[in-house]
């Protein structure tokens, strides 16, 4: 049994990281492999998933032709990879070979399944998987079906045993009498008892690997839910042993039904044909692809480093300004910030993760389910609830009615006649008039609809076991952390905007992928509002000044807002409280925002193919809004497409530079952080988050059919938590084709402006972060402002690069 655990744990590393859709996050899809160097991990996962972690050779050849791959860098890479002339030439020939027009990189290779299928003359997967998938999706169903599978709360194995043994009807082909023997055993015992009946001991590991990976979406899902049961609102308990036990019972029963004389598979039967060491690619090909891919990435990195170095001499720092704004680090904000800065010299933008340092759960009302509004790995101890909520309560009633209606068969029959009439009008409106009747203004001042109780007076105020609100000290601590990490502890402008972000899409199951990742995929406006309310509180300002050294002048007012990245509109809250100078500043900000949003919309329209090139900015704005509301638009916005950089440092070093919406920005001032504490906090969040986003897009672009989710058109929402193709298939992992088709698959590069010693101390001090960096899952560049040198991390160390040349 211990062997069994080892086998399962060995394969579990390769299971994809898939979460329920309403809690979707961009994460490294293969987190278990992070302790391995990147290319080794890619090679191993290629063998397991039988997919290739490369684009087709034609992609690289086109990049070479267009100059996106620098020939010198390519040469240097080839020389670094192969020592002698002959292998270098082999690599060059492979790169230049003729490309095919089609590219099907994924194949499945399961020797034991293939052998058994030939023995019984039927495809074993086709026999077991439909029933197994149906059982799994019924078990995990969060509310699609009208009633749940009996005993769903007792675990998958028990639920299955109940279905088979405690019913008047059999489940074909399972033998009820035989299963009764296993009724009281735990799944892991069942697996260890059944395993010798299918395969001999030597093949056990291979068999378990095949069983888990042939339904990799479901296996990954089971594993993740097992690690974090709270991800599902209606909890379910199952682990990989439940899955294996059920699968083996079904398989054995099918095998025995068709061929009763089946004997366990022995290694010698598998023979050379089945077990030959299959390499997905030959050694030379692997080297060639790796070399050209590295060259592709490094060309871009080199361009950026040179660009930033040239700009460093022009960098001017703005000390005093009249408007400041905080934005999320999201790469979709970087173009908006740039447009705003072009219009106004007295404006300064800071970037910090969109939860603005605040970690809390949010509840709309007493009976609502608590929503997390902070990054996924953080587990908050606080919960904020709506104070008033007439609107909210009214909406509650509507949703409750919608949810519980039509339980009566005859009422549903009767109502169905009339639902049809209603849907005729809905369809006409949705298809021909997506924006209904008007195009909303791009920037609007409004009263915010929600009001939460932020502060608590005593520790007795709790709800669901969490503190109902912050104390002043706790809140001030969080604010201080944010201000210090971005380097703003004095010289506050009279008006500071805190802008969160969200995204409105219609008919899109991946809507949380577009939302603010720092707020767990939700709307960032709440965090912005809470932050600004806390920062406006005089007692907080006193604590900040006395205990943390952050001087906020009395004249400064914080205002919150939210940017809808899909529609490119901004809503600013509670401006009517301002007067005089502040109101004028707010007006000026909103005028500039309007112009910037229109420019941003036009910039984004360059990606939408069926849009004419000479579109005006206001037309572009109307177009983005229409796309957000159309039920038939599978590409409402392109999200984090083409993300490739994360720049940590003062805005002065990048102000005025255009990164083509490819950079995550994070404000940081090394001068006030001599020990690197704030750098640790920043990188501890930024590396997993930005690295996760980047890797998610990377895999989904490279192999959209194997590890990505394929085209959105045939998607079918399953169990309210996941997506599959049609009704009989495995779950789909990763992102859909329509989200990643324009992405440039390269690993993210962090460019951090800090002294090398501090950076190395921070990275090496945290094993998790060091794994990311040392194994080159993310690339690192350090711009040392004191020594005035640039270092690039490769081959296990930071090496100095001169003149910006990476080779």
């Amino acid at each position: 049994m211990d062997n069994l655990k080892t086998y399962v744990n060995d394969v579990a590393k390769f299971l994809p990281n898939i979460r329920p859709l309403n809690e979707f996050l961009h994460l490294n899809m293969l987190p278990g492999l992070q302790t391995m160097p990147f290319w080794q991990a890619m090679r191993e996962s290629a063998l397991k998933y039988s997919h290739l972690p490369f684009m087709p050779i034609s992609f690289y050849q086109n990049k070479l032709k267009s100059g996106a791959i620098d020939v010198h860098i390519l040469d240097a890479e080839i020389r670094a990879e192969a020592k002698d002339e002959k292998s270098q030439n082999e690599i060059r020939n492979t790169i230049q070979r003729e490309a095919k027009e089609y590219y099907f990189p994924e194949k499945t290779f399961r020797p034991i399944q293939k052998y058994i299928s030939e023995e019984i003359n039927h495809s074993l997967g086709e026999l077991t998987e439909p029933l197994l998938i149906r059982l799994l999706s019924s078990f995990y169903d969060q509310g699609f079906s009208f009633w749940n599978v009996p005993k769903a709360n007792e675990g998958f194995w028990k639920c299955f045993v109940n279905l088979v043994t405690n019913s008047y009807l059999p489940i074909y082909p399972i033998d009820k009498e035989q299963l009764v023997h296993f009724k009281d055993k735990t799944p892991i015992e069942v697996v260890s008892l059944l395993l010798p009946q299918i395969v001999e001991e030597e093949l056990a590991q291979l068999y378990i690997e095949e069983s888990l990976l042939s339904l990799k979406g479901w296996s990954g899902f089971i594993q993740n839910i097992n690690l974090e049961p709270k991800l599902l609102t209606d909890e379910r308990h199952a682990d990989l042993y439940d899955y294996l036990a059920v699968r083996m019972v079904i398989e054995l029963n099918w095998i025995r039904k068709i061929k009763p004389s089946f004997q366990p598979v022995i290694k010698s039967q598998l023979g050379a044909n089945y077990l030959k060491k299959r390499e997905v690619m030959s050694q030379v090909e692997w080297q060639a692809y790796k070399v050209i891919h590295e060259a592709y990435e490094k060309t871009y990195y080199q361009n950026i480093i040179i660009k930033m170095a040239e700009h460093a001499s022009n960098a001017r720092e703005i000390k005093k300004c009249e408007i400041q704004s905080f934005h999320c680090i999201d790469d979709r904000e970087c173009s908006l910030i740039r447009f705003m800065e072009e219009l106004d010299d007295n404006f300064k933008a800071y970037s910090t993760p969109g939860h603005f340092g605040l970690d809390f759960f949010y509840k709309v009302s007493d009976e609502a389910y608590p929503q997390k509004r902070c990054p996924a790995p953080v587990v908050p101890k606080f919960i904020l609830k709506e104070k008033r909520g007439k609107d909210v309560q009214r909406k509650n009633k509507i949703y409750k009615w919608q949810n519980s209606s039509y339980q009566n068969f005859f009422l549903e029959w009767f109502m169905s006649y009339f639902d049809g009439l209603n849907s005729i009008f809905k369809m006409i409106v949705d298809v021909f008039l997506p924006t209904k009747t008007f195009v909303p203004k791009s920037v609007r001042f409004m009263r915010s609809k929600s009001e939460v109780k932020i502060f608590r007076n005593s520790d007795n105020e709790t709800l669901n076991g969490l503190f109902l609100g912050y104390t002043h000290d706790e809140a001030a601590l969080r604010l201080a952390n944010v201000f210090k990490s971005i380097g703003l502890i004095q010289d506050f402008a009279p008006l500071v905007f805190i802008i969160g972000h969200t995204s409105t899409t219609t008919n899109n199951p991946y809507f949380t992928a577009y939302g603010c990742g720092a707020c767990s995929g939700r709307n960032g406006s709440l965090n912005a509002k809470v932050f600004s309310e806390i920062a406006n509180d005089p007692e907080i300002r006193k604590i900040l000044k006395d205990n943390h050294g952050v001087q906020i002048p009395e004249n400064t007012i914080f205002v919150s807002g939210v940017h809808d990245t899909c529609k490119d509109t901004v809503r600013i809250f509670n401006v009517d409280r301002l007067s005089g100078q502040h109101y004028d500043l707010a007006k000026r900000f909103s005028e500039n925002l309007k112009i910037s949003l229109a420019k941003n919309a036009k910039l984004r329209c360059a990606d939408f193919v069926n849009v004419p090139k000479d579109i005006t900015e206001s037309e572009a704005q109307a177009l983005t809004i229409e796309r957000a509301h159309s039920i038939f638009e599978p590409r409402p916005e392109f999200g984090h497409t083409r993300n490739a950089l994360c720049i940590v440092g003062k805005r002065a070093s990048t102000r005025g530079l255009s990164f083509d919406r490819r950079a995550f920005l994070q404000s940081y001032d090394y001068t006030i952080d001599p020990n690197g504490d704030y750098l640790l906090a920043i990188l501890g969040a930024a590396i997993p988050v930005c690295g996760g986003i980047n890797l998610d897009y990377f895999y989904s672009r490279m192999n959209n059919r194997g590890i990505g989710a394929g085209s959105k058109l045939s998607h079918n929402v399953t169990g309210l938590v996941a997506i599959s193709n049609g009704t009989e298939d495995d779950l789909l992992t990763g992102l859909a084709l329509q989200m990643v088709e324009l992405h440039e698959p390269m690993r993210i590069m962090f460019v951090v402006t800090v002294t090398l010693e501090v950076l190395q101390k921070v990275l090496k001090g945290n094993q998790n972060l060091w794994d990311w960096v040392n194994n080159e899952w993310v690339r690192f560049t350090c711009i040392d402002p004191v020594k005035k040198k640039t270092y690039f991390f490769q081959n296990g160390q930071f090496s100095e690069i001169s003149g910006g040349k990476l080779c």
């Binding site: 009996p150 709309v364 068969f409 849907s423």
Partner: protein, 606 residues
């Protein structure tokens, strides 16, 4: 009447189909073509509906032309009543909305032109079905709808599951088409003027006066069988869930809106015939009720949105069958109009179901304690019902648990049988006794029986054989020759049908042979996906497939009709045998098409 010129608008999808076949266009051109091809029929339908209500027109028939061929005559005419207008209006408005939806939804999808072309074909078929004046024309439209359904389920030809499911569903369509084919033939018997629907109405009332009641029962059951297959009633309720493999808009039009109601249309049209038969009325009610209960029961536990919508759709059609059986015509029309829009809209917006769920759980946390009546039952009964619904009422062929006919076991048995030559020795003996039993003792008739039975046996062996496709295709030629020979010998002066049939059959066979010639090593146990590396051959074989399976644009369809109509009176057993082998034709060619050319191309290296 001037208003009748509006019917010319329904030729527009046909023109769009031809245009989209000629060459590859840009997306914006395709959008314009497809939009015109749905807007013009919509305007025309709206005008016709207004005209119908304004002038209180009743039922009318519009004769187009008649072709006399041998002893047979084909009449092409249109029959317009409130059902026709409802179908026309429903189809044109629904397709207008869904086509507009698809313009942006399918953007950049490989197969853009193929999608709109197939939808145009579907529209041709459905308009023909709506306006058909005779059962033959209705059958032609029916076939076109079935074929476009097959093509759209397998839209993603490079994945195995859509292709496999498409083949399975095409088999069900083919099986149930037999009912309609026989119904059409028997219709020729019952009425001399080629079973016009107008005649059904006028003469139908007096049917029992001059036709033996047994014929009425038989025709009724045959038509019911056909409607059951197309509309997914008991025992075929599982296929719509399997058919949700295509793009969402196509699933919405077909299985939410239009194609799945075709059974209802058929029954409505032929109401004057079968309504006389109390057996059929009760059977329809039983089937409808059973389907409604079973499909609702299965649909209630479906954890995925498209599967659930498919089953609930089927349940509603069961109710429509009941309504129709008892003569509530206006209610049926109202029901299918509203149901189509409703289901279509639900399927189109199915990806947003997660958003709705999130809104609900933000509002209230007790989401899943739904008060379903099943939760009040004792545990063992609850588990039994769940287990029954989970296995889809044991009606699913894929799990070998299909009561009462285990298809897979039959297939394996057939393979064993056809491998031995004893089978081919036994055939003449059986044929001899069959012929004598039917009273056909003359030599040429007995020979015809032998050829017919041999044809059937060979067809069945082609269907299940695992040999390489060239061998199967050669054997297929043998079956065609046997069929034509058997028909010709049985009634020597009925050569007209045989000639008409062979005009298409032989060239199509030759085309198929040319396309298949190089593929001698293909494994027929799996889907090979050769269309990627051999696109031209794949298209040629597709045309051959259309010809051999009796697509209405080829004369094989009309030739079959003539042959069967002429053989009917004298040789019903022979007719059954040859008709069965004709049904197999479509399956054989579809099987070769999907196994050889479609599917995941695992032979391609990166």
């Amino acid at each position: 009447m001037l208003i009748n010129y509006l019917f010319l608008a329904y030729l527009v999808p046909f023109m769009a189909l031809i245009v989209l076949l000629v060459k590859k266009y840009s997306e914006s051109t395709i959008q314009r073509i497809s939009f015109i091809s749905v807007v013009i029929p919509f305007l025309s339908s709206a005008a016709l509906v207004v005209d119908y209500f304004l002038y209180k027109r009743g039922v009318r028939e519009i004769s187009l032309f008649e072709i006399a061929y041998g002893e047979h005559h084909f009449s092409f005419n249109l029959f317009v009543d409130k059902l026709s207008l409802s179908i026309l209006f429903l189809t044109s408005s629904l397709t207008l909305l869904v086509i507009k939806f698809s313009h942006t939804y399918l953007h950049k999808e490989p197969g853009y032109q193929r999608f709109f072309r197939t939808v145009s074909l579907f529209l041709c078929g459905l308009y023909l079905l709506a306006l058909a004046g005779t059962l033959d024309l209705f059958f032609a439209g029916w076939e076109m709808v079935g074929l476009s359904s097959f093509m759209l389920i397998a839209f993603y030809r490079d994945r195995t599951r859509p292709v496999k499911n498409a083949l399975r569903i095409f088999s069900i369509y083919r099986l149930c088409d037999l009912g309609l084919l026989f119904g059409a033939i028997i219709g020729h018997l019952l009425w001399e003027d080629a079973n016009h629907f107008l005649t059904f109405l006028s003469e139908g009332r007096n049917l029992h006066e001059y036709v033996d009641y047994n014929w009425v029962h038989l025709v009724g059951f045959l038509l019911m069988f056909s409607a059951i297959g197309k509309s997914a009633q008991f025992p075929f309720i599982n296929w719509p869930a399997r058919a949700m493999e295509g793009p969402t808009p196509s699933s919405a039009i077909f299985y939410g809106g239009l194609s799945i109601h075709c059974g209802v249309f058929l029954l409505y049209r032929t109401y004057p015939i079968w309504s006389h038969s109390y057996l059929v009325v009760y059977a329809l009610t039983g089937v409808g009720l059973l389907t409604a209960l079973l499909a609702t029961g299965i649909g209630r536990i479906q954890p995925n949105i498209k599967g659930q919508l498919a089953y609930l759709s089927v349940a509603h059609i069961g109710i429509m069958f009941i309504e129709l059986a008892w003569g509530f015509h206006n209610l049926v029309i109202f029901h299918f109009l509203t149901h189509s829009f409703f289901r279509c809209y639900q399927i189109l917006t199915s990806p947003s179901s997660i958003v709705d769920h999130v809104k609900v759980i933000d509002a209230t946390s007790n989401i899943t304690i739904k008060k379903a009546i099943e939760n009040w039952l004792p545990m063992k009964l609850r588990t039994t019902i769940y287990s029954f619904a989970l296995q889809e009422g044991f009606l699913s062929i894929s799990e070998r648990g299909f009561f009462p006919l285990p298809f897979v076991q039959i297939k394996l048995w057939m393979r064993k049988v056809f491998r031995s030559y004893i089978t081919f020795a036994v055939v003449p003996v059986i044929a001899y006794y069959l012929a004598h039993w039917q009273g056909h003792t003359e030599t040429h008739q007995v020979v015809a029986y032998m050829l017919g039975l041999l044809d059937l046996v060979l067809s069945a062996s082609c269907l299940t054989s695992l040999k390489n496709p060239n061998t199967i295709w050669n054997r297929f030629l043998a079956t065609q020759i046997l069929f034509m020979a058997s028909a010709f010998i049985f009634k020597a002066h009925s050569y007209h049908g045989v000639i008409l049939y062979s005009i298409s059959a032989i060239p199509c066979w030759v085309l198929g042979k040319y396309a298949l010639m190089q593929f001698t090593n293909v494994d027929m146990k799996k889907f090979n996906g050769l269309y990627i590396t051999n696109p031209k051959k794949s298209n040629l074989f597709f045309i051959a497939f259309l010809g051999m399976s009796g697509f209405p644009f080829f004369t094989t369809f009309w030739g079959e009709d003539v042959i069967f109509a002429e053989m009917l009176l004298e040789g019903p057993v022979l007719l059954t045998m040859t008709a069965l082998s004709m049904m197999f034709n479509g399956l054989i060619s579809a099987r070769i098409l999907t196994k050889v050319f479609w599917g995941f191309p695992s032979y391609i290296k990166y």
